[in-house]
Symmetry: C2
Subunit: 461 residues, 2 copies
C-alpha cells in the first residue's frame, strides 16, 4: 500500500498527493456526524487526466479510492478509511462554457453549487437546483447523490438537470459523454449509471447542466390548514391552478412550526392563529402577472374552506422570512439538543397516516420524546427528527429501527434525497427487494470488478 | 431449438405459444420497412409470471427472445429471426390503478398509448406523451425506446414520465420497482437500465407513469421567419415569455412547408406569404388567461422584427389544422415517393448550418434530389427526408453515409428519439466513443451474459 502512495507521488507530484498530518482536517469527514478518519493519502487532481492517472495506479495496486466533493453529505459516503485513498475534486472548479441557444452550462465537477447558480444568473439564466449547503456542496456531489432540494416539484431532481457528463471508471478509463441534447437515444444512456450511485461506479469530472430562463416573478405564501385531507386538496388544486409555476410545496406538522416560530433566532410566526398543519408554497412565474395569480388562487381556497388562513409575501424579504422557518433546521442542535434525523419518502396520501403512527410509537417508547415532521410533500418526501430528552448519546439504533421499520410497513423509501452511503446501508433492504439488490450488485461488479471505487458504500458487492 | 418450443407449449399452453403459419402476419415485422421474418415461435403471455416462465425456459435452452410491443418502431428492434422467439406483450393490457393524490397511473406494458391518454383524461388528469403512432404503439415500447414526440420541451421524454417499472431479466428474474415517488435515492435507480435500452436488458411488464393536471388552455400559432437567427431568438424569447407553458416548438424549413401546403390532402397554408422558415408553437397553460398570452407575445415578436408573420389558432379545429401540416409526413410516400428518412440531434445553434451543408452535399451528389428538413428544434431534434427521383430502390446506404457522416462531423447524434435497433447500429460509433460503446457492452454482458435478450440490437455484445 505504501507502494501506491509512492507511485501516485511519482506520477502526480507532491502538490497533488499528500499524506499523514499534511492532509487537511476537512478531508477527514463529512456532515454525517460519523467520526473522521485519516486516509492513506489525499489526492487532489487538477485535471481529468490526473484523476485517470490516480485511478489507473490505484486500480493496478488494488487500493480503494473514495471520491470527495464538498463533503456536505449526510450518510458518510465520502469518508475514506485508513487503507483507502481519498480523491478530492476540490481543485477541479470552474465554468467551462455557457451555451445560451442550447440553454446549457458545462462545469468542472468540483465547482460549488452557488458558483453555478451565480454564473447562470450573470448570463441572465437560471440554474434550478437549490439546497441549504449551496455554498459548500460541489456539483459533482450533487450529481453523485442525485440531490433534491426545495424546487423538485417544478424542476425535478439533479438527474433531470444533467444532460451529459464525463466520468472516470475504476480502471482509469475516461467516459466523455458531454451531451447537450434533450433528446439523444443513441444506445444506453450511460449518465444514469453515475447519477445517484454515490461515487461507486465512476468519478464524475465534468457535467453539462440544463439551464432555464430566469423566473419573471417569484411569489410565496404561508397557509394554515385544519387537517391533512385539506393539504392534499390544496396540492391538487395548486397543481392545476398554478400549473407548472408551482415550484415548492412544503408541509409542516404543527410541532415543527410551533418550535421554529418560538425558538429559532429571528424567526416570526407569519400567521396569527394556530393550525394543525402549515404549507409554504412558492411559484416561479414567467411574467410579473404570474406573481399575482397566487393571491387570487388562495382567495378561492379560503372561500372553499380548503385553507384556514394564509399570508402572502409581497417582496423578497417576506419570501425569505417564510423560508427562514423551514431553514431553521440548521439550528436544531442549538434549539433542542442532539436528535436523530430522517429523510423518507412515502406516497402523498399516506403521509399523515405515517406521521400519526410514528408519533404514537415514539411516544409509547419514549414518553417525553420530541418529534418533528416536515418536508417536500409535493414530491412525497418527508423529514422526521426525533429527540429523546436526557439521552446521551441519543438511542440512534433504536430510533432508526422504529422509524425505518414503519417506512417498510408502509412501502416507502428509506432515502428520498440524501442517499444511502454507509449509515443507511443496513436499511436499504427495507425499501429494495432481494432481486433489486442483486441487480445493483451485478452492475457494481461489472463496472468495478475489483471493488475499489468507494467500496462498502450503498451496497455490498 | 424445437425442444424449447415443446417446453414453452408444455408450460404455457397452445393458446400462449404459437408456431409456423399460426403466427399472425403482424408479428413478423415492424414499421422499419425491413422484410418480415417468421420466428421460431410467438409467445403471447397474459401475466408477468408467464413472461418470467418463457424467459426461464429460453434462457435454459440458450434461445434468443425478441420482445414486441405495438410494432411501430422504425429501426427494426422488434423483428425476430427464424431461430428466435418473439415475445409479444399484446395481451398484457389495461390500467391497473390511477392514484390521484400522487398523480400516477400504473399500467400493463402492452397498453396502447392512446388508451392511457384517454384513461388519464377520464380521471380529469393528463398523460403528456404523444406521438403519431398513439393508436398502435404500446407504452412498453415507448418506455423501451424512450419515446419523444411533440411535447418534450414541456414534459420531457418518456424517461421523465416513468416513476417505476417492473421488468423480467433474461434469466426470468422479475424486478418489481413500481415506485410512485418523485424522490427515491435508495441505491441505484434501476429503471434507467430498462428505459431506452430497446429490450436488450429486460422485458418491461408494468409501468408507473407520472400524470399532470389537464391543461386549462391550449394555444397554438404558426409563424413565418426570415432566417434561422430569428428562429433562435424566437425560441429564447418564448422560453422566457411563455415560461413552462411552452409545449411545442416545431421548425420547418421552406421546402417542407411548400410541399405540405400544396400536396398533402386537406392541408391549407396558414400564412399568405412565403418565408424561409416556419415555426409551429404550442402552449399548455394552467388557466384560460394563459391561452391569451401567446397572442400578445407574438405581437411583441412582430414589433421587434423577430417574426415576419403569424397566424394564431382560436379554436381546437384551427390548432388541428396547424398540426396537420406537420403530421402530413405520414403521407410522404404517396406524395413524393420512396425516401430515406432520418431522426437526428444537433445543438440548436448549429441546426441551420447542418441543413445548409446537407442541402449542398445532397445536391452535389444527386442534383434532382428533394430534401426536407423539419423537427422539434426546441429539443435539438431534426428530421431529414431525402428522395432521389427515379432511383428504385433509393440509394439508402449512400444517403445514410452522407447524412450521418455530416452529423458525425458536427458532433450530433444519429438517433434523437427513434433508437438504434439494427438499422442504425452501423452508425452508433459516429455518435458514441469507443469507451462509451465498451461500457455499454459491459452492462449488456453483465445483465445478459448469455446474450439471449434481443441480441444484435443496439450493440454487439
Amino acid at each position: 500500500m505504501t507502494g501506491v502512495v509512492e507511485s501516485l507521488k511519482a506520477e502526480l507530484g507532491g502538490e497533488v498527493v499528500t499524506t499523514g498530518a499534511d492532509i487537511p482536517e476537512r478531508n477527514l469527514k463529512d456532515w454525517s456526524g460519523l467520526p473522521g478518519q485519516r486516509p492513506l493519502a489525499l489526492v487532489r487532481p487538477r485535471t481529468t487526466a490526473e484523476v485517470a492517472t490516480a485511478m489507473r495506479l490505484c486500480h493496478a495496486a488494488g487500493v480503494a479510492v473514495v471520491p470527495q466533493g464538498g463533503l456536505t453529505g449526510l450518510v458518510g459516503a465520502s469518508i475514506a478509511g485508513p487503507a483507502e485513498v481519498a480523491l478530492s475534486l476540490e481543485r477541479m472548479t470552474g465554468v467551462e462554457e455557457i451555451d445560451a441557444a442550447t440553454a446549457t452550462m458545462t462545469v468542472k465537477s468540483g465547482t460549488p453549487l452557488e458558483v453555478i447558480q451565480n454564473a447562470a444568473a450573470d448570463a441572465d439564466m437560471f440554474f434550478a437546483l437549490d439546497l441549504g449547503a449551496r455554498g459548500s456542496c460541489a456539483i459533482g456531489g450533487n450529481v453523485s447523490t442525485n440531490a433534491g432540494g426545495n424546487r423538485v416539484i417544478r424542476y425535478g431532481m439533479t438527474r433531470d438537470m444533467v444532460l451529459g457528463l464525463e466520468a472516470v471508471l475504476p480502471d482509469g478509463t475516461v467516459i466523455t459523454s458531454l451531451n447537450k441534447l434533450i433528446k439523444n437515444n443513441a444506445g444506453y444512456d450511460l449518465k444514469h449509471l453515475f447519477i445517484g450511485s454515490e461515487g461507486t461506479l465512476g468519478i464524475v469530472t465534468r457535467v453539462v447542466l440544463r439551464l432555464y430562463p430566469r423566473p419573471g416573478s417569484i411569489a410565496a405564501a404561508f397557509c394554515g390548514l385544519a387537517d391533512y385531507e385539506a393539504v392534499v386538496r390544496l396540492l391538487k388544486a395548486a397543481r392545476a391552478g398554478l400549473g407548472a409555476t408551482l415550484s415548492a410545496f412544503e408541509v409542516m406538522w404543527h410541532e415543527f412550526y410551533d418550535c421554529m416560530t418560538t425558538k429559532a433566532t429571528g424567526v416570526r410566526a407569519p400567521l396569527t392563529g394556530r393550525h394543525r398543519l402549515y404549507v409554504l408554497m412558492e411559484a416561479h412565474g414567467a411574467t410579473e402577472a404570474d406573481g399575482e395569480r397566487l393571491e387570487s388562487f388562495l382567495g378561492t381556497m379560503l372561500e372553499q374552506g380548503v385553507i384556514e388562513d394564509a399570508a402572502v409575501a409581497h417582496n423578497t424579504a417576506q419570501i425569505k422570512a417564510f423560508w427562514a422557518i423551514r431553514d431553521a433546521v440548521a439550528e436544531y442542535t442549538t434549539m433542542i439538543g442532539p436528535m436523530v434525523g430522517f429523510d423518507l419518502g412515502l406516497v402523498v396520501n399516506r403521509m399523515d397516516d405515517y406521521v400519526q403512527e410514528c408519533r404514537k410509537r415514539v411516544a409509547a417508547r419514549w414518553p417525553t420524546a420530541i418529534g418533528h415532521y416536515y418536508g417536500h410533500i409535493g414530491d412525497g418526501n418527508i423529514h422526521v427528527n426525533v429527540h429523546v430528552p436526557g439521552a446521551d448519546p441519543q438511542p440512534k439504533d433504536e430510533v432508526n429501527d422504529l422509524v425505518y421499520g414503519l417506512v417498510r410497513e408502509m412501502g416507502g423509501t428509506v432515502s428520498a434525497e440524501h442517499g444511502i452511503g454507509v449509515t443507511k446501508r443496513k436499511y436499504l433492504p427495507y425499501t429494495r427487494s432481494p432481486e433489486e439488490l442483486a441487480l445493483m450488485a451485478v452492475i457494481k461488479r461489472a463496472v468495478d470488478p475489483k471493488n475499489i471505487l468507494n467500496p462498502g458504500k450503498v451496497i455490498e458487492a
